[in-house]
């Protein structure tokens, strides 16, 4: 039997909590910005005091897509690794703290320049729009800080392997290492564009910027970024949920296999965000479309595993009919229900993703608000609800408090409010996106256009849904504050599932990291080297910076 700590080490708990607190502060500010946006876009409200729509939109994107996610994920993974691979060494923990502070300083710097209106370039910061150099330096610090934490996790895993020769690493730790490897490899792209292109260009050291190269480096990072968000949600589904419902992990090997496949097929796929761009051959676009859709395979494996776990549990409790096992699931336990709603949202979310990435159909929805509707299902429902569901046991586990019945009920109300609000908002976005309403745009009647007039009712629906989501944010923040400082003291379990007793031993080859990394690098070179060389060799004159437009 592999020995694991039942409780996260107290010092490690502090490190994890620090990350989680920053994440929830980002949720509050970013969520408030989202609320303001839906109000403005309805056409009924104007922002006071010279606050810009695009300034608010930049803050919303940066704080939620980059800060909330990265901080929560790193905090969750430190806790998970401490729980399954033992307490961090003093060195690893110190490294984690250094990473935390660098990320936090970076976040503060970037947020500062957004709030003073010097960086309304949105979270994708497409050149040649030019923000204050502090915005880019802050982002670079966030990325570098996350790398440092990643190295602490790698070292911790390696130490466990050394202490347990001949054994495969604990599942949750293994998954965290896959996710950080994915993150390190993909964020090299955004680091390269920020450090080699944006910062020298903003400081005036270089005259022009190669726009297409900067966008390509961004999207080399931008799509794996979404898998970096999704994989921790999958960790909760694969490892935690089986224990919460009282069942078993369907297959430890299959879970690892799906994570390795995500590592392979997350990165060489950025062109599906650039399908309607000039300067990239349609053949290379198609090749990356094929690589993109390979993630269907691990997604199907995950769906199968989840429902197999659910069904086996229900049948072990005596269910006999085709769907009778559904009755036995703990529907009134927020730790199960909230992530479960996230899983359900991934069905339309994933289907929408297939549409977006499918070469020709992309032209119908590209840069329409359909896309915004899509990722509010995937990230803002599937991932975020899973994170909320995890925070409900993780935060009290770390603070030595308990998730009380009342808080559990409130968490269920929160999830219902979120689901209804998101159905309205995301539904309206999808629908009106098909009519052509653009994303990332303030309210406009487009010169009295009849088409744009038809979009207004949907924009009002977005405001209704978005307001409910903000209420949802207030509720979850109330619960988190309770769990951090006020809930009754006690022991809250960090649930870690076990594989079925009949399952065969997980093969050791899953820990062949150099093989996996080599395959990833080969796939990236295959997908990118020729079109990327073309972008540099056939580049038009570079673009000067435009910093007065934004």
């Amino acid at each position: 039997m592999i020995e694991t700590a039942v409780k996260v080490n107290k010092k490690d708990a502090k490190l994890a909590l620090a990350h989680i607190i920053v994440a929830f502060i980002a949720l509050f500010i970013g969520g408030l910005c989202g609320f303001l946006q839906v109000l403005v876009r309805s056409g009924k409200v104007q922002l006071p005091g010279g606050i810009g729509y695009y300034q608010v939109l930049t803050a919303h994107g940066v704080l939620l897509a980059l800060v909330l996610t990265t901080f929560f994920i790193i905090g969750f993974q430190f806790a998970g690794m401490s729980r399954t691979a033992g307490a961090l060494s003093n060195k690893a923990r110190l490294t984690g703290w250094i990473g935390f502070w660098i990320m936090t300083i970076g976040t503060a710097l970037t947020t500062f320049y957004i709030l003073i209106g010097k960086a309304s370039v949105l979270y994708t910061f497409y050149a040649p729009l030019q923000a204050h150099v502090g915005f880019y330096i802050g982002l670079a610090l966030v990325v570098v800080g996350s790398w440092i934490s990643g190295f602490a996790m790698f070292a911790h895993y390696a130490r466990w392997k050394k202490q347990n020769p001949g054994q495969v690493g604990p599942l949750l730790s293994f998954m965290s290492v896959v996710n950080m490897a994915l993150w390190l490899i993909c964020s090299l792209g955004v680091a390269a564009t920020v450090l080699l292109q944006f910062i020298p260009w903003t400081l005036g050291w270089t005259e022009g910027i190669n726009v297409l190269v900067s966008r390509t480096l961004f999207w080399y990072f931008g799509h794996p970024l979404v898998y970096f968000w999704l994989l921790p949600a999958y960790m909760v589904w694969y490892v935690v949920i089986p224990k919460v419902i009282g069942g078993k992990i369907f297959s430890d090997s299959l879970a690892r296999m799906s994570f390795i496949l995500f590592l392979f097929f997350s990165i060489p796929v950025g062109f599906h965000h650039q399908l309607t761009e000039p300067g990239i051959s349609p053949t290379w676009k198609y090749i990356q479309v094929v690589l993109t859709l390979m993630v269907v395979i691990p997604s199907l494996m995950t769906a199968f595993s989840m429902f197999a776990t659910f069904e086996r549990f229900g049948r072990s409790k005596g269910a006999t009919s085709l769907f009778g096992w559904l009755k036995f699931l703990p529907w009134n336990d927020a730790r199960f229900l909230v992530p479960f709603i996230g899983m359900v949202a991934f069905i339309p979310g994933g289907a929408g993703g297939l549409i977006n990435a499918s070469h020709q159909l992309n032209q119908v929805i590209h840069n329409t608000i359909w896309v915004t509707g899509h990722f509010h299902l995937t990230i803002a429902t599937t991932v975020v609800l899973t994170f909320f569901g995890a925070a409900y046991w993780l935060v009290p586990h770390l603070t030595g408090r308990t998730f009380t019945k009342q808080l559990n009920q409130l968490a269920i109300v929160q999830a219902v409010v979120w689901s209804v609000g998101m159905t309205i908002m995301s539904g309206a976005m999808h629908w009106v996106g098909l009519y052509g309403a653009p994303r990332r745009s303030s309210f406009s009647d487009y010169g009295g256009s009849a088409q744009a007039a038809d979009w207004i009712p949907y924009q009002i629906a977005q405001a209704v849904g978005g307001s409910m989501l903000f209420l949802g944010i207030i509720l979850v923040l109330y619960i988190i504050v309770q769990l951090l400082w006020f809930a009754p003291k006690g022991e809250e379990e960090f649930p870690i599932g076990e594989a079925e007793e009949t399952a065969e031993k997980t093969p050791l080859f899953f820990d062949k990291w150099w093989l996996w990394i080599t395959i990833v690098v080969v796939l990236i070179l295959l997908a990118y080297s020729i079109p990327f060389t073309h972008m540099i060799q056939e580049a038009p004159p570079g673009s000067p910076g435009y910093n007065r437009l934004c």
């Binding site: 695009y54 198609y286 020709q360 840069n367 309403a437 303030s442 256009s449 088409q451």
Partner: protein, 162 residues
């Protein structure tokens, strides 16, 4: 590694559908020529306004019921060759759209049609659209380009001339 029998069936069905899907998309792309806009021409964005065809934006007849529409964008305007930013296109006309930007990245979208592409400084973007339905269509910028992004638009009027 052992796979459960049901999982094998599930994955075979899923992977089979995926391959079928990719083959259909591939045939659409490479056999029937339905590719996303991917023009490979470049131009100096600083002086593009002096270079043909962008020195004369607007609609030009190039064949029977076939036209070229040249559009030059800058923050925050579409230059379509007319003062009122309205382009009249005969119903049923096949229009080859050629567009680029003088400054930042813009989006080119004719709402209600499949004409939708990115415009990037230094690169020329091209797409072809046949206007089969009468009516007014909004040409708008769908990529954030600065504080006036949502004010950037023009109008395509498809008129029945028969």
């Amino acid at each position: 590694m052992h796979l459960h029998k049901y999982e094998k069936i599930w994955l075979a069905f899923g992977i089979g559908s995926l391959i079928l899907f990719l083959v259909i998309v591939g045939i659409n792309a490479f056999v029937t020529g339905h590719q996303p806009p991917s023009s490979d021409k470049t131009v100096d964005p600083q002086v593009v306004g002096e270079i043909a065809p962008f020195n004369k934006p607007g609609l030009k007849k190039i064949g029977k019921n076939e036209y070229q529409l040249v559009v030059l964008t800058s923050a925050f305007s579409f230059d379509v060759g007319t003062q009122d930013k309205v382009v009249e296109i005969p119903k049923g006309a096949k229009v080859h759209i050629i567009a680029t930007t003088k400054d930042v990245v813009h989006g080119f979208e004719i709402a209600g049609t499949n004409a939708n592409m990115m415009l990037e400084p230094g690169h020329i973007s091209e797409t072809t659209q046949t206007f089969r339905e009468e009516g007014e269509f909004t040409l708008l910028c769908n990529e954030y380009c600065g504080s006036g992004h949502h004010l950037m638009h023009a109008k395509i009027k498809v008129v029945d001339q028969s």
